[in-house]
Amino acid sequence: MSEAQKAPILLHLDGLTKAYPGVVANDNVGFKIHEGEVHALLGENGAGKSTLVKMIYGLVKPDSGTMTLRGQAYEPAEPRAARADGIAMVFQHFSLFDALNVAENIALGMEKPPKQSELARRIKDVSEEYGLPLDPSAVVGNLSAGERQRVEIIRCLLQDPKLLIMDEPTSVLTPQEVEILFQTLRQLSAEGTAILYISHKLEEIRSLCDEATVLRLGKVVGNCTPREKSARELAEMMVGEVLHVPERAVKDLGEIVLAIDNLSIASANPFGTSLKNVSLEVRAGEILGIGGVAGNGQDELLAAISGEAKTSHGAVTVKGTSVGELTPNERRKLAILAAPEERLGHAAAPDMSLVENALLTGAVRKNLTSSGFVDWGATRDFAREIIKDFDVRTPGSANAARSLSGGNLQKFVVGREVLQDPDVLVVNQPTWGVDASAAAAIRQSLLDLAAKGAAIIVISQDLDELMEISDRFAALNEGALSDARPAQGLTVDEIGLMMGGAHGMEVAHSHHNEGEPA
């Protein structure tokens, strides 16, 4: 899109600064977005991307600096003002009501919603025009994550925006769905809508974006044309250091440690996904990577292994013994450990100290109680060991779990299980929200644990991560698990198909192209 370079400037940010207690989220940030340009905002978690877009969208007011929109001073007091000026945003976390249908959800976000029938017609028009098929009368609770994202995108497109901000839009999509989304975004860009695209996925940015601004610790550290850089160069701009790639030891796999045989269980959560005929085997020393879009049974699979969900006799066996009837602590006694995805409120209690959170799963294996009384001294030592070995940044073990940053708490949660010498470990999203160097350290610790002979399941939405550390790969799709295949040599297309392809949405753009005169 070379003409985009010459297009007039849409939004000019200059010297934006925003400080929160203890941290400068944005320090003198400035760049320009041209009309019709796809502009990437690149940076690690905590680099200040979210704060910056919140300022543009009127959610946060900058301490200093100016924004200029089409030559006019732009100071949105609230998102409504930003929308009135043609700025729309698709958030990473959707704000949709499960019980309402698509048109009702979209009407809720509008200042003056038209009649439902009129709105349904407009939704249909926009969705066909941009190749995003969507039934206005479908109930949102029944939609896949990719379809929910379309609801949010169409909600934005109905406002006819000049600038569309997208925050990590592909984290919930399969590779095929990503391609459909990119076609839509390219079409929007060709029509003159600028897109501010936030991501830390480098290949995506290289394929989609015209320009990139890289943020690190709140400062702009570089501008570039992503196509002219390699993914590694972009990563090093983003992280500011040479990246350490985890090392995999060559190893011989042992016998089968964990086996799940034809497991079907209903989800405990009414909006959860029930598992359907899941079978898998993990050998000693092996890492099985399980991919898939969130909400396809990941939580339920972890619960069936951790013991939070009971299963029928023989469905879950460890070294030949059925463990499906055992409680989480009885399984811990047998060295079966788990680290759930939700850090605050599941893996850890937010208002309890790190010492108490060490007791939460460590009581059995670390012998932290005797006849029911807690040995706080030993518990404190265990907490300190986790903090030290996993480089958890905190003033001390007496601090509450919620006072830690997401990445540091993640290190604590994974470290707590790894240090208990599991024979079986299942981790859900081990590096979600963790910066690149800490993520590498967590992955290395999982590889080291496998090298010592543990059987490990890593559930993740980050396919690059799974390809990096797993021996075999399988995907969860609507509660069913695909056959596991050796991870080396799998192509992105194969992985995408294992994840359920585009969930029946493949035809979107081809159909649209047929109907449109060239």
Partner: protein, 359 residues
């Protein structure tokens, strides 16, 4: 502009200073109210806070302090365990009544025997009575997922009807000339719960309250069950992950709170009240809910809150008598204390910042 900023961890200093500040603010606001009623505010506050313990007639009112605080603390300790775990037993008043009925009935069954074993048996029966009454909402909750707030509360009214029936029927004193009410248990050595240290008001119930405070403190800070209770209240999903069985915890917490409320009822009916009458219960079971929260669900806090609550009741009565301050004003004063204590709680978890915020 004033705004609040959440603290990363609750402030230790403020959690200690907040109650003192609250009492001071209550004195100021209450003083203004008394002045508006045309009463001398300093005198009123002196009568409420000082005279019950150190005043001219303190020898009468001082023992009342422990007599009233004892059951409040005993019940509140039990309730606080459940409240910590998110199990809301609102029906301690009913469990208190049932404990008194079970205990009194046991004692009366032995009448007129004089055996040392009778009183211990009555204590056990009282605890069983309260526990059984609390098991009804506990089992309804674990089996049918009913709301224990409603069921435990409604069972208070059932217990009151049983109390009326007992006072006028089964437990009625056969030598009572037709008056409702049981024999006076305090009149018989085998069934009485006497003042143990003369002039203090301390009877067996007060001793039990002190033991309960210490036991609850150890349970919550040192025992894995206490940890599970706290964990369940804070984050039920993490508790299940830590192998806590929610139904077991419901039964345990309801059982302990019911048992302690039953004990409080038993000690009351054998001591200060003396007999089962249809007006035997005076609302300790409900006031204990306030005491539990005033004490921040912490055993030592509950001990202090129970004493403070008892003090304002006794001092409030004195102020009504001596200065003819209307009862409504006294209640408003007690309400202020509650209000300021809860309001000051904000300071423990938040920082107050002055100045403008951009967001």
């Amino acid at each position: 502009m004033i705004r609040l900023e959440k603290r990363a961890t609750p402030s230790k200093q403020w959690s200690l200073a907040a109650p003192l500040l609250a009492v001071a603010l209550t004195m100021i606001a209450g003083g203004i109210m008394f002045a508006a009623l045309g009463k001398d505010p300093l005198e009123a506050i002196r009568i409420i806070f000082w005279d019950p313990i150190f005043g001219e007639f303190a020898s009468y009112s001082r023992p009342q302090l422990l007599v009233k605080a004892g059951p409040l603390i005993l019940i509140a300790i039990g309730l606080s365990l459940g409240f910590r775990a998110g199990i809301w037993n609102i029906g301690a008043e009913g469990q208190y009544i049932m404990g008194a009925i079970f205990g009194a009935a046991t004692g009366l069954a032995f009448y007129p025997a004089e055996l040392w074993i009778i009183f211990p048996l009555m204590v056990i029966a009282g605890a069983i009575g309260g526990t059984l009454w609390a098991m009804i909402p506990a089992i309804l909750k674990t089996k049918f997922n009913t709301n224990e707030i409603l069921t435990s509360l409604m069972l208070v009214y059932v217990a009151q009807e049983i109390l009326k029936s007992m006072a006028n029927g089964l437990l009625k004193n056969p030598e009572g000339h037709g008056f409702p009410g049981s024999r006076n248990l305090a009149h018989y050595p085998a069934t009485s719960n006497p003042e143990l240290i003369v002039g203090t008001g301390a009877h067996w119930g007060v001793m039990a309250a002190i033991v309960a405070v210490i036991a609850a403190y150890i349970l919550l800070s040192r025992h894995i069950l206490g940890f599970q209770i706290r964990l369940t209240g804070e984050s039920p999903r993490a508790a299940r992950f830590a192998s806590v069985r929610p139904n077991r915890l419901i039964v345990i917490c309801m059982g302990i709170s019911g048992g302690l409320a039953g004990l409080a009822g038993l000690f009351e009916v054998t001591g200060p009240a003396g007999q089962i009458t249809d007006k035997f219960n005076v609302g300790y079971g409900f006031t204990a809910i306030i005491v539990a929260f005033l004490g921040r669900l912490h055993p030592v806090g509950i001990l202090l809150a129970g004493l403070l609550m008892a003090l304002t009741y006794i001092g409030g009565e004195l102020a009504q008598l001596q200065m003819s301050i209307p009862a409504a004003a006294i209640q408003a004063f007690q309400g202020m204390l509650l209000f300021f204590l809860l309001a000051m709680d904000v300071l423990t978890n938040f920082k107050i910042k002055f100045g403008t915020e951009a967001a």
